[in-house]
Protein backbone atom coordinates (compact mmCIF):
# COMPACT_ATOMS: atom_id res chain seq x y z
CA UNK A 1 0.00 0.00 0.00
CA UNK A 2 2.80 2.38 1.01
CA UNK A 3 4.61 1.82 -2.26
CA UNK A 4 1.63 3.19 -4.12
CA UNK A 5 1.94 6.47 -2.22
CA UNK A 6 5.71 6.68 -2.62
CA UNK A 7 5.89 5.89 -6.31
CA UNK A 8 4.27 9.12 -7.55
CA UNK A 9 6.47 11.06 -5.12
CA UNK A 10 9.58 9.46 -6.53
CA UNK A 11 8.39 10.25 -10.01
CA UNK A 12 7.78 13.88 -9.06
CA UNK A 13 11.24 14.14 -7.55
CA UNK A 14 12.77 12.73 -10.72
CA UNK A 15 11.35 15.46 -12.92
CA UNK A 16 12.18 18.30 -10.58
CA UNK A 17 13.74 20.93 -12.81
CA UNK A 18 14.07 23.72 -10.28
CA UNK A 19 16.60 21.96 -8.05
CA UNK A 20 20.36 22.41 -7.91
CA UNK A 21 22.26 22.07 -11.16
CA UNK A 22 23.51 18.59 -11.94
CA UNK A 23 27.08 18.13 -10.84
CA UNK A 24 29.31 18.14 -13.90
CA UNK A 25 32.80 16.88 -13.93
CA UNK A 26 35.22 19.50 -15.17
CA UNK A 27 38.14 18.62 -12.92
CA UNK A 28 38.41 22.30 -12.04
CA UNK A 29 38.50 24.19 -8.78
CA UNK A 30 35.46 26.39 -8.17
CA UNK A 31 37.29 28.95 -6.00
CA UNK A 32 40.12 29.25 -8.48
CA UNK A 33 37.59 29.64 -11.28
CA UNK A 34 35.91 32.52 -9.50
CA UNK A 35 39.24 34.38 -9.21
CA UNK A 36 40.07 33.67 -12.85
CA UNK A 37 36.70 34.97 -14.06
CA UNK A 38 37.52 38.27 -12.31
CA UNK A 39 41.08 38.25 -13.59
CA UNK A 40 40.04 37.81 -17.23
CA UNK A 41 37.45 40.58 -16.68
CA UNK A 42 34.60 38.41 -17.99
CA UNK A 43 32.32 40.66 -15.95
CA UNK A 44 32.83 43.59 -18.29
CA UNK A 45 30.37 41.89 -20.65
CA UNK A 46 28.68 39.23 -18.51
CA UNK A 47 26.74 39.37 -15.30
CA UNK A 48 28.15 36.60 -13.09
CA UNK A 49 26.82 36.08 -9.59
CA UNK A 50 29.55 36.15 -6.97
CA UNK A 51 32.32 37.47 -9.23
CA UNK A 52 33.70 40.90 -8.34
CA UNK A 53 32.41 43.75 -10.53
CA UNK A 54 30.73 41.33 -12.96
CA UNK A 55 27.74 43.43 -13.95
CA UNK A 56 28.20 43.66 -17.72
CA UNK A 57 25.18 44.06 -19.97
CA UNK A 58 26.83 43.48 -23.34
CA UNK A 59 26.53 39.70 -23.31
CA UNK A 60 24.10 37.22 -21.70
CA UNK A 61 24.14 36.83 -17.90
CA UNK A 62 25.65 33.52 -16.81
CA UNK A 63 23.25 32.59 -13.98
CA UNK A 64 22.15 28.96 -13.74
CA UNK A 65 24.69 28.08 -16.37
CA UNK A 66 24.59 24.39 -15.49
CA UNK A 67 20.91 24.21 -16.29
CA UNK A 68 21.32 25.47 -19.82
CA UNK A 69 21.15 23.06 -22.70
CA UNK A 70 23.27 25.14 -25.05
CA UNK A 71 26.31 27.41 -24.90
CA UNK A 72 25.91 30.59 -26.95
CA UNK A 73 22.54 29.30 -28.10
CA UNK A 74 23.82 26.49 -30.27
CA UNK A 75 26.62 24.38 -28.77
CA UNK A 76 25.74 21.46 -26.50
CA UNK A 77 26.54 22.46 -22.93
CA UNK A 78 29.10 19.82 -21.98
CA UNK A 79 32.18 20.47 -19.82
CA UNK A 80 34.52 19.76 -22.73
CA UNK A 81 32.61 22.09 -25.03
CA UNK A 82 32.51 24.85 -22.42
CA UNK A 83 36.27 24.62 -21.88
CA UNK A 84 36.86 24.77 -25.64
CA UNK A 85 34.47 27.72 -25.88
CA UNK A 86 36.34 29.64 -23.16
CA UNK A 87 39.67 29.03 -24.89
CA UNK A 88 38.65 30.01 -28.42
CA UNK A 89 35.01 30.94 -28.98
CA UNK A 90 35.47 31.84 -32.63
CA UNK A 91 36.67 28.34 -33.54
CA UNK A 92 33.24 27.02 -32.50
CA UNK A 93 31.12 29.93 -33.69
CA UNK A 94 32.95 32.10 -36.24
CA UNK A 95 30.66 35.11 -36.01
CA UNK A 96 30.83 35.53 -32.26
CA UNK A 97 32.00 38.79 -30.74
CA UNK A 98 33.50 37.03 -27.73
CA UNK A 99 37.29 37.25 -28.03
CA UNK A 100 39.82 34.54 -27.29
CA UNK A 101 41.43 35.82 -24.12
CA UNK A 102 44.47 33.56 -24.12
CA UNK A 103 42.91 31.23 -21.58
CA UNK A 104 44.88 28.07 -20.81
CA UNK A 105 43.17 24.68 -20.75
CA UNK A 106 43.59 24.47 -16.99
CA UNK A 107 42.16 27.96 -16.42
CA UNK A 108 39.21 27.09 -18.67
CA UNK A 109 38.42 24.01 -16.53
CA UNK A 110 38.50 26.10 -13.34
CA UNK A 111 36.22 28.75 -14.82
CA UNK A 112 33.83 26.11 -16.16
CA UNK A 113 33.70 24.57 -12.68
CA UNK A 114 32.63 27.90 -11.23
CA UNK A 115 30.02 28.51 -13.94
CA UNK A 116 28.51 25.05 -13.35
CA UNK A 117 28.38 25.75 -9.62
CA UNK A 118 26.12 28.77 -10.11
CA UNK A 119 22.63 28.26 -8.71
Amino acid sequence: MRILVLLPLAWLAACNSGGPAPARLTGGDIKQGKLLLAQYQCGVCHQITGVAAARGQLAPPLDSFGQRSYIAGSLPNTPQMLARWLIDPASLKPGTSMPAMGVSEEDARHMAAYLYSLP
Binding site: Y40, V44, G56, A90, S97, P99
Partner: protein, 316 residues
Protein backbone atom coordinates in the same frame (compact mmCIF):
# COMPACT_ATOMS: atom_id res chain seq x y z
CA UNK B 1 53.35 45.28 -4.47
CA UNK B 2 49.89 44.08 -5.32
CA UNK B 3 47.83 46.35 -7.53
CA UNK B 4 48.21 50.09 -7.95
CA UNK B 5 48.80 52.01 -4.75
CA UNK B 6 46.63 55.02 -4.03
CA UNK B 7 47.27 56.02 -0.45
CA UNK B 8 48.65 59.21 1.10
CA UNK B 9 49.52 57.10 4.15
CA UNK B 10 51.94 54.94 2.14
CA UNK B 11 54.25 57.61 0.74
CA UNK B 12 56.69 56.68 -2.01
CA UNK B 13 58.19 60.08 -2.68
CA UNK B 14 59.81 62.92 -0.68
CA UNK B 15 56.83 65.29 -0.83
CA UNK B 16 54.35 62.57 0.02
CA UNK B 17 56.52 61.68 3.01
CA UNK B 18 56.38 65.24 4.33
CA UNK B 19 52.61 65.29 3.86
CA UNK B 20 52.13 61.90 5.53
CA UNK B 21 54.25 62.97 8.51
CA UNK B 22 52.31 66.23 8.85
CA UNK B 23 49.07 64.30 8.79
CA UNK B 24 50.21 61.88 11.51
CA UNK B 25 51.73 64.51 13.82
CA UNK B 26 48.85 66.99 13.53
CA UNK B 27 46.19 64.28 13.88
CA UNK B 28 48.13 62.81 16.81
CA UNK B 29 48.45 66.23 18.46
CA UNK B 30 44.74 66.89 18.06
CA UNK B 31 43.95 63.44 19.47
CA UNK B 32 46.12 64.02 22.57
CA UNK B 33 44.47 67.42 23.24
CA UNK B 34 41.01 65.92 22.76
CA UNK B 35 41.76 63.00 25.08
CA UNK B 36 43.15 65.37 27.73
CA UNK B 37 40.01 67.52 27.64
CA UNK B 38 37.84 64.40 27.98
CA UNK B 39 39.86 63.18 31.02
CA UNK B 40 39.51 66.57 32.71
CA UNK B 41 35.81 66.59 31.92
CA UNK B 42 35.29 63.16 33.51
CA UNK B 43 37.36 64.12 36.60
CA UNK B 44 35.38 67.34 36.97
CA UNK B 45 32.05 65.54 36.80
CA UNK B 46 33.00 62.71 39.18
CA UNK B 47 34.41 64.63 42.15
CA UNK B 48 33.44 67.90 43.73
CA UNK B 49 36.58 69.78 44.54
CA UNK B 50 37.69 73.33 44.94
CA UNK B 51 38.97 74.72 41.69
CA UNK B 52 41.73 77.29 41.46
CA UNK B 53 40.07 79.35 38.77
CA UNK B 54 43.01 81.60 38.12
CA UNK B 55 45.45 78.67 37.79
CA UNK B 56 43.24 76.85 35.29
CA UNK B 57 42.39 80.01 33.37
CA UNK B 58 45.97 81.13 32.88
CA UNK B 59 47.54 77.71 32.77
CA UNK B 60 44.99 75.61 30.88
CA UNK B 61 43.26 78.41 29.01
CA UNK B 62 46.21 80.46 27.79
CA UNK B 63 49.67 79.01 28.51
CA UNK B 64 48.96 75.43 27.40
CA UNK B 65 47.22 76.25 24.08
CA UNK B 66 49.88 78.82 23.26
CA UNK B 67 52.60 76.25 23.86
CA UNK B 68 50.95 73.28 22.16
CA UNK B 69 49.49 75.14 19.20
CA UNK B 70 52.67 77.14 18.65
CA UNK B 71 54.72 73.98 18.66
CA UNK B 72 52.40 72.30 16.13
CA UNK B 73 52.28 75.47 14.02
CA UNK B 74 56.05 75.78 14.04
CA UNK B 75 56.46 72.11 13.10
CA UNK B 76 53.93 72.25 10.27
CA UNK B 77 55.34 75.53 8.91
CA UNK B 78 58.93 74.31 8.93
CA UNK B 79 58.05 70.90 7.50
CA UNK B 80 55.82 72.40 4.78
CA UNK B 81 58.71 74.62 3.74
CA UNK B 82 60.60 71.43 2.89
CA UNK B 83 58.07 70.51 0.19
CA UNK B 84 59.71 70.81 -3.20
CA UNK B 85 59.25 74.04 -5.14
CA UNK B 86 57.92 73.42 -8.64
CA UNK B 87 60.96 73.70 -10.85
CA UNK B 88 61.67 72.31 -14.28
CA UNK B 89 65.40 72.73 -13.78
CA UNK B 90 67.34 69.46 -14.09
CA UNK B 91 64.05 67.58 -14.19
CA UNK B 92 62.37 65.31 -16.67
CA UNK B 93 59.60 67.42 -18.19
CA UNK B 94 56.17 65.97 -18.89
CA UNK B 95 53.06 67.86 -19.96
CA UNK B 96 49.68 66.70 -18.72
CA UNK B 97 46.48 68.08 -20.20
CA UNK B 98 43.27 67.22 -18.37
CA UNK B 99 40.19 66.63 -20.49
CA UNK B 100 36.67 65.43 -19.82
CA UNK B 101 37.41 62.61 -18.55
CA UNK B 102 40.92 61.57 -19.40
CA UNK B 103 44.50 62.80 -19.34
CA UNK B 104 46.69 63.57 -22.31
CA UNK B 105 50.35 63.02 -21.49
CA UNK B 106 53.21 64.44 -23.58
CA UNK B 107 56.92 63.73 -23.45
CA UNK B 108 59.54 65.68 -25.33
CA UNK B 109 61.14 63.53 -28.02
CA UNK B 110 64.68 62.69 -26.90
CA UNK B 111 65.88 63.05 -30.49
CA UNK B 112 64.19 66.39 -31.05
CA UNK B 113 61.23 65.05 -33.01
CA UNK B 114 57.54 65.61 -32.45
CA UNK B 115 56.12 65.24 -28.96
CA UNK B 116 55.43 61.71 -27.80
CA UNK B 117 51.74 61.70 -26.96
CA UNK B 118 50.02 59.09 -24.85
CA UNK B 119 47.12 58.99 -22.48
CA UNK B 120 46.23 58.14 -18.91
CA UNK B 121 49.64 56.81 -18.00
CA UNK B 122 52.81 58.53 -16.84
CA UNK B 123 56.05 56.62 -16.64
CA UNK B 124 59.00 58.02 -14.78
CA UNK B 125 62.45 56.94 -13.66
CA UNK B 126 62.87 56.14 -9.96
CA UNK B 127 64.85 58.64 -7.90
CA UNK B 128 64.80 61.48 -10.43
CA UNK B 129 62.84 64.72 -10.09
CA UNK B 130 60.04 65.06 -12.63
CA UNK B 131 58.42 68.34 -13.55
CA UNK B 132 54.80 68.17 -14.63
CA UNK B 133 53.34 71.06 -16.63
CA UNK B 134 49.64 70.82 -15.83
CA UNK B 135 46.86 72.40 -17.83
CA UNK B 136 43.23 71.80 -18.64
CA UNK B 137 41.46 71.84 -21.99
CA UNK B 138 37.97 72.34 -20.58
CA UNK B 139 36.90 72.64 -16.92
CA UNK B 140 38.79 72.73 -13.63
CA UNK B 141 40.45 69.42 -12.78
CA UNK B 142 42.96 68.57 -10.09
CA UNK B 143 46.00 66.34 -10.36
CA UNK B 144 46.62 64.09 -7.39
CA UNK B 145 48.88 61.08 -6.95
CA UNK B 146 48.41 60.51 -3.20
CA UNK B 147 51.43 58.23 -2.85
CA UNK B 148 53.80 60.73 -4.50
CA UNK B 149 52.74 64.33 -3.86
CA UNK B 150 50.00 66.77 -2.96
CA UNK B 151 47.23 68.10 -5.17
CA UNK B 152 47.59 70.75 -7.84
CA UNK B 153 44.52 72.21 -9.51
CA UNK B 154 44.37 72.45 -13.28
CA UNK B 155 42.56 75.64 -14.23
CA UNK B 156 41.69 76.24 -17.90
CA UNK B 157 43.81 78.95 -19.46
CA UNK B 158 46.61 78.57 -16.93
CA UNK B 159 49.72 76.46 -16.70
CA UNK B 160 50.49 74.96 -13.32
CA UNK B 161 53.70 73.26 -12.40
CA UNK B 162 54.53 70.56 -9.93
CA UNK B 163 57.61 68.57 -9.14
CA UNK B 164 57.37 65.03 -7.94
CA UNK B 165 59.68 62.12 -7.44
CA UNK B 166 59.17 58.41 -6.88
CA UNK B 167 61.70 56.74 -4.60
CA UNK B 168 60.35 53.22 -5.10
CA UNK B 169 59.42 51.41 -8.26
CA UNK B 170 55.73 50.62 -8.50
CA UNK B 171 52.39 51.60 -9.95
CA UNK B 172 50.67 54.53 -8.28
CA UNK B 173 47.11 55.47 -9.04
CA UNK B 174 46.21 59.11 -9.52
CA UNK B 175 42.72 60.50 -9.38
CA UNK B 176 41.12 63.74 -10.54
CA UNK B 177 40.52 65.54 -7.25
CA UNK B 178 38.21 68.33 -8.39
CA UNK B 179 34.66 67.40 -9.33
CA UNK B 180 34.52 67.83 -13.09
CA UNK B 181 31.30 66.20 -14.21
CA UNK B 182 29.56 62.90 -14.68
CA UNK B 183 32.64 60.70 -14.95
CA UNK B 184 34.89 62.53 -12.49
CA UNK B 185 35.23 59.31 -10.48
CA UNK B 186 36.49 57.36 -13.51
CA UNK B 187 39.11 59.95 -14.39
CA UNK B 188 42.16 58.15 -13.11
CA UNK B 189 45.73 57.95 -14.27
CA UNK B 190 48.49 55.49 -13.45
CA UNK B 191 52.00 56.55 -12.63
CA UNK B 192 54.49 53.78 -13.32
CA UNK B 193 57.85 54.33 -11.63
CA UNK B 194 60.59 52.13 -13.05
CA UNK B 195 64.37 51.94 -13.16
CA UNK B 196 66.09 54.55 -15.37
CA UNK B 197 67.10 51.81 -17.86
CA UNK B 198 63.55 50.45 -18.15
CA UNK B 199 62.25 53.99 -18.48
CA UNK B 200 64.69 54.87 -21.26
CA UNK B 201 63.76 51.70 -23.16
CA UNK B 202 60.09 52.46 -22.73
CA UNK B 203 60.47 56.05 -23.96
CA UNK B 204 62.41 54.89 -27.03
CA UNK B 205 59.63 52.43 -27.83
CA UNK B 206 56.94 55.08 -27.35
CA UNK B 207 58.80 57.45 -29.67
CA UNK B 208 58.53 54.96 -32.53
CA UNK B 209 55.51 54.98 -34.83
CA UNK B 210 53.04 52.15 -34.43
CA UNK B 211 54.25 48.64 -35.38
CA UNK B 212 51.54 46.57 -36.98
CA UNK B 213 52.06 42.81 -36.89
CA UNK B 214 51.37 40.33 -39.68
CA UNK B 215 48.29 38.21 -40.13
CA UNK B 216 44.77 38.28 -41.50
CA UNK B 217 43.18 39.15 -38.14
CA UNK B 218 45.35 42.24 -37.62
CA UNK B 219 44.85 43.34 -41.22
CA UNK B 220 41.10 43.04 -40.72
CA UNK B 221 41.41 45.04 -37.51
CA UNK B 222 43.35 47.78 -39.25
CA UNK B 223 40.73 47.93 -41.99
CA UNK B 224 37.98 48.13 -39.35
CA UNK B 225 39.83 51.02 -37.69
CA UNK B 226 39.65 52.93 -40.96
CA UNK B 227 36.11 51.91 -41.88
CA UNK B 228 34.72 52.75 -38.46
CA UNK B 229 36.41 56.15 -38.72
CA UNK B 230 38.21 55.72 -35.42
CA UNK B 231 40.82 58.01 -36.93
CA UNK B 232 38.46 60.97 -36.75
CA UNK B 233 39.33 61.25 -33.07
CA UNK B 234 42.25 58.90 -32.46
CA UNK B 235 45.76 59.10 -33.83
CA UNK B 236 47.85 56.00 -34.47
CA UNK B 237 51.20 57.49 -35.47
CA UNK B 238 52.51 56.02 -38.68
CA UNK B 239 49.21 54.34 -39.55
CA UNK B 240 46.40 56.81 -39.10
CA UNK B 241 47.46 60.39 -38.49
CA UNK B 242 43.98 61.63 -37.74
CA UNK B 243 41.60 64.05 -39.38
CA UNK B 244 42.98 66.27 -42.14
CA UNK B 245 43.80 69.84 -41.27
CA UNK B 246 45.01 69.12 -37.77
CA UNK B 247 48.58 70.26 -37.22
CA UNK B 248 51.02 67.38 -36.92
CA UNK B 249 51.61 66.28 -33.35
CA UNK B 250 48.50 68.05 -32.15
CA UNK B 251 46.83 64.81 -31.21
CA UNK B 252 43.18 64.04 -31.60
CA UNK B 253 39.93 64.66 -29.78
CA UNK B 254 40.41 61.28 -28.16
CA UNK B 255 43.47 59.59 -26.71
CA UNK B 256 46.43 58.81 -28.96
CA UNK B 257 46.37 55.06 -29.62
CA UNK B 258 49.83 54.60 -31.14
CA UNK B 259 50.94 52.34 -28.29
CA UNK B 260 47.61 51.70 -26.60
CA UNK B 261 48.47 48.02 -26.14
CA UNK B 262 51.37 48.95 -23.86
CA UNK B 263 49.15 50.71 -21.34
CA UNK B 264 47.93 49.13 -18.14
CA UNK B 265 44.38 50.45 -18.29
CA UNK B 266 41.87 51.84 -20.76
CA UNK B 267 39.16 54.45 -20.29
CA UNK B 268 41.30 56.52 -17.85
CA UNK B 269 41.72 53.74 -15.32
CA UNK B 270 38.28 52.24 -15.93
CA UNK B 271 39.24 48.75 -17.16
CA UNK B 272 42.41 46.72 -17.11
CA UNK B 273 43.74 46.66 -20.63
CA UNK B 274 43.15 43.41 -22.47
CA UNK B 275 41.52 42.23 -25.66
CA UNK B 276 38.15 41.59 -24.03
CA UNK B 277 38.05 44.96 -22.28
CA UNK B 278 38.96 46.70 -25.55
CA UNK B 279 36.18 44.86 -27.39
CA UNK B 280 33.64 45.66 -24.69
CA UNK B 281 34.72 49.30 -24.61
CA UNK B 282 34.44 49.67 -28.40
CA UNK B 283 31.08 47.89 -28.51
CA UNK B 284 29.57 50.24 -25.96
CA UNK B 285 31.74 52.63 -23.95
CA UNK B 286 28.64 53.96 -22.20
CA UNK B 287 28.00 50.62 -20.57
CA UNK B 288 31.21 50.98 -18.56
CA UNK B 289 31.57 54.77 -18.46
CA UNK B 290 28.19 56.47 -19.04
CA UNK B 291 28.49 59.93 -20.55
CA UNK B 292 31.89 59.35 -22.14
CA UNK B 293 32.24 61.22 -25.43
CA UNK B 294 33.20 58.22 -27.53
CA UNK B 295 30.20 56.86 -29.44
CA UNK B 296 29.32 53.17 -29.45
CA UNK B 297 30.40 51.31 -32.52
CA UNK B 298 27.58 50.87 -34.96
CA UNK B 299 26.75 47.88 -37.12
CA UNK B 300 29.98 46.03 -36.50
CA UNK B 301 29.74 42.25 -36.59
CA UNK B 302 31.38 40.12 -33.95
CA UNK B 303 34.26 39.09 -36.17
CA UNK B 304 35.18 42.68 -37.00
CA UNK B 305 34.93 43.69 -33.36
CA UNK B 306 37.31 40.91 -32.35
CA UNK B 307 39.73 41.87 -35.11
CA UNK B 308 39.69 45.54 -34.09
CA UNK B 309 40.31 44.64 -30.45
CA UNK B 310 43.17 42.34 -31.44
CA UNK B 311 44.68 45.06 -33.64
CA UNK B 312 44.61 47.62 -30.82
CA UNK B 313 45.94 45.11 -28.30
CA UNK B 314 49.07 44.48 -30.35
CA UNK B 315 49.87 48.20 -30.70
CA UNK B 316 52.46 47.87 -27.96
Amino acid sequence: MTGPQQSALHPAGPDAEVIAQLAWVLTGGAAVVFAGVLVLCVLGLRRQRTVHVRWWLWGGGIALPVLVLSALLAFSTLRSAQLSEPSSQHALKIAVVARLWWWEVRYTHPGGGEDIVLANEIRLPVGQPVYLGLSSADVIHSFWVPALAGKVDMVPGRLHGMTLQADRAGVYRAQCAEYCGEQHARMALHVVAQSPQEFAAWLTAQARPAQVGEGALLAAGRRAFEQQRCGACHVVRGVSEGAAGRPAGEGGIGPDLTHVGSRLYIGAGTLRNDRGALAAWIANPHAVKPGVRMPSSADMDGETLRALAAYLEQLK
